[in-house]
């Protein structure tokens, strides 16, 4: 009817008579609209809930898509046979180009939607995987520790050590500090000090300012700090604190306990802890280490090593 009205109006007002392509073109447009129509409501749903893909196909939708595909494909078939020019080369090129364009236009939204579906499903799988990984981690660490704690319920020292180790582990896991001791001197220091905490069942607060990859000198400083912290844990009183500051020209570590102190000049010559493991080790790397202590007061070990970052010679 509409078609008839349009052609009547055309002949009446003297428009040029439309070519034979009008009907197939209309058929293609209607077909495409029908193929796209199920996506319309889906795109609203998708926008509301971006993390799920809603199902599309009711029987009505199937029918619309099939009729639409039929219309569009038959109009394309008609176009392929339409001899609109005498030159075969032009005809082949135009035919192929137009048909590809028409097919893309027809199926494009569906392909986009398919891609989205794949993406959503992939994200879901990743989430699922992460959940499983967290569950596995909690099982291996927290649940095991709780079991151990229950077994050792009558031994407060063991319980404290277990709880402390587990706390550190969980904290590291939660805050995702996945840098290694090689990449970060702060991590190297923290893990060295936690080894001391575990072997002596004490709590040591570690504060680090600044960070860099651990080179040979920094490693020596960390090893000396570990020795100092273990001395503090053995002979000193809590609270014990370790403070490290990395500036552009040197790395300094302070290890401090709260007493009872001693006279550093009166260490027997055969005690190698301070002399060799702390002072000697640091001095071999061009640094200095000093012990400040007095009987009855806090003891502090100050370790300082120079850095050479300007000429790139800092040995790894």
């Amino acid at each position: 009817m509409l078609l008839a009205a349009v052609s009547l109006a055309a002949s009446r007002y003297g428009w040029p008579r439309p070519g034979p392509w009008v009907v197939p073109l209309l058929a293609y447009i209607i077909g495409t609209a029908l193929v796209w129509s199920p996506l319309d409501s889906a795109s609203v749903e998708d926008a509301l809930r971006p993390e799920v893909v809603v199902g599309l196909f009711s029987r009505d939708h199937w029918a619309r898509v099939l009729v639409g595909l039929g219309l569009a494909i038959s109009s394309m078939a008609w176009f392929a046979r339409w001899p609109f020019t005498d030159q075969p080369v032009v005809r082949v090129v135009v035919d192929i180009g137009t048909l590809i364009l028409a097919a893309v236009l027809l199926l494009g939204p569906w392909l986009l939607r398919l891609a989205r579906q794949v993406r959503v499903e992939r994200a879901e799988r990743i989430r699922e995987f992460e959940r499983a990984e967290i569950a596995a981690h909690l099982h291996d660490s927290v649940l095991q520790t709780l079991t151990l704690i229950r077994k050792n319920a009558d031994d407060p020292a063991a319980v404290a050590t277990l709880a402390r180790a587990q706390e550190r582990d969980l904290r590291g896991y939660l805050y995702q500090d996945r840098r290694t001791a090689e990449e970060s001197v702060a991590v190297a220091l923290a893990s060295a000090i936690s080894a001391v905490e575990d072997s002596h069942a004490v709590v040591i607060e570690v504060v680090s300012v600044g960070d860099a990859p651990t080179d040979k000198r920094l490693r020596a400083a960390v090893a000396a700090a570990k020795e100092a912290a273990s001395n503090a844990a053995k002979h000193g009183e809590s609270p014990i604190s370790v403070y490290a500051e990395l500036s552009s020209d040197r790395y300094e570590i302070f290890v401090r306990d709260s007493g009872p102190g001693f006279n550093p000049k009166r260490i027997p010559a055969d005690r190698l802890g301070i002399r060799e493991s702390i002072i000697g080790r640091v001095e071999r790397h061009g640094g200095t280490a000093a012990v400040t202590s007095k009987k009855g007061e806090a003891t502090e070990v100050h370790i300082s090593v120079p850095r050479r970052t300007d000429n790139g010679k800092a040995g790894r």
Binding site: Y175, V203, E205, V207, S208, V209, G210, P239, I240, S241, Y243, E245, L246, S247, S248, F254, R256, S258, A298, E300
Partner: protein, 218 residues
């Protein structure tokens, strides 16, 4: 200090509230408790305490935990002073609560006498810095990169003296020991720490802004 410091304890774990209550010394009196954002705001409004010991992670409110409580209470006239208490020592938690108005920050591993001392200090309007918070401050204000303020008004840098004080606190010195080491009075140490707290709250250094943004406050 003849009068007792009146305290409200806010924590979502009953065990922690009981533990904190028991570990507080004689100079402190607990006048109220809260277990989430709403009960905390109500307890603070009715008890009108001097100091609120506030857990950083709290249920309720609009999801900001302690930040919601600070937000609601600091708007009212004559607000109490806040001491934040947390198991977490992640930088963004610490910096966010301090920037939201807490006068200090301590971790739950703190001993009873230390906590009592911190409460009394906060009640006197002093700031309480744990070694870790001092470390964050040095890190955030670029102390190791050699950033030094030339004028006191420079909010984005610490003065040389403030850096020294922060370094000693990070090394585990008490305020008294810091004073002895630097040959200044304990009152002067407190002044420096309060100045640092003010800078921490008002500075717009991007490191601080970044940490605060992670907890959705600026």
């Amino acid at each position: 200090m003849s009068e007792k410091v009146r305290v409200v304890i806010v924590d979502d774990h009953d065990v922690i509230r009981v533990g904190v209550k028991q570990s507080l010394g004689d100079g402190v009196e607990v006048v109220g408790e809260g277990r989430d954002v709403e009960t905390a705001i109500e307890a603070i409004a009715t008890a009108k305490p001097d100091v609120v010991i506030l857990d950083v992670h709290l249920p309720g409110g609009i999801g900001g935990g302690a930040l919601d409580v600070l937000d609601a209470c600091l708007k009212k006239s004559d607000p109490p002073r806040f001491l934040a208490l947390s198991v977490s020592d992640a930088a963004e938690d610490v910096v966010a609560v301090v920037r939201a108005g807490a006068r200090g920050y301590v971790t739950k591993s703190i001993s009873g006498p230390e906590l009592t001392d911190a409460v009394v200090r906060v009640a006197q309007d002093d700031a309480v810095f744990s070694p870790r918070l001092a470390g964050f401050v040095l890190d955030a204000f670029g102390a190791s990169a050699g950033d030094i303020a030339v004028a006191d008004e420079d909010l984005d840098k610490l003065t040389a003296r403030e850096q020294e004080v922060m370094r000693l606190i990070a090394r585990g010195y008490s305020y008294r020991e810091v004073g002895e080491k630097l040959f200044i009075s304990i009152k002067t140490v407190e002044t420096h720490v309060s100045a640092v707290l003010r800078k921490l709250q008002l500075s717009s250094r991007h490191e601080l802004a970044h940490w605060a943004a992670q907890r959705r406050i600026v």
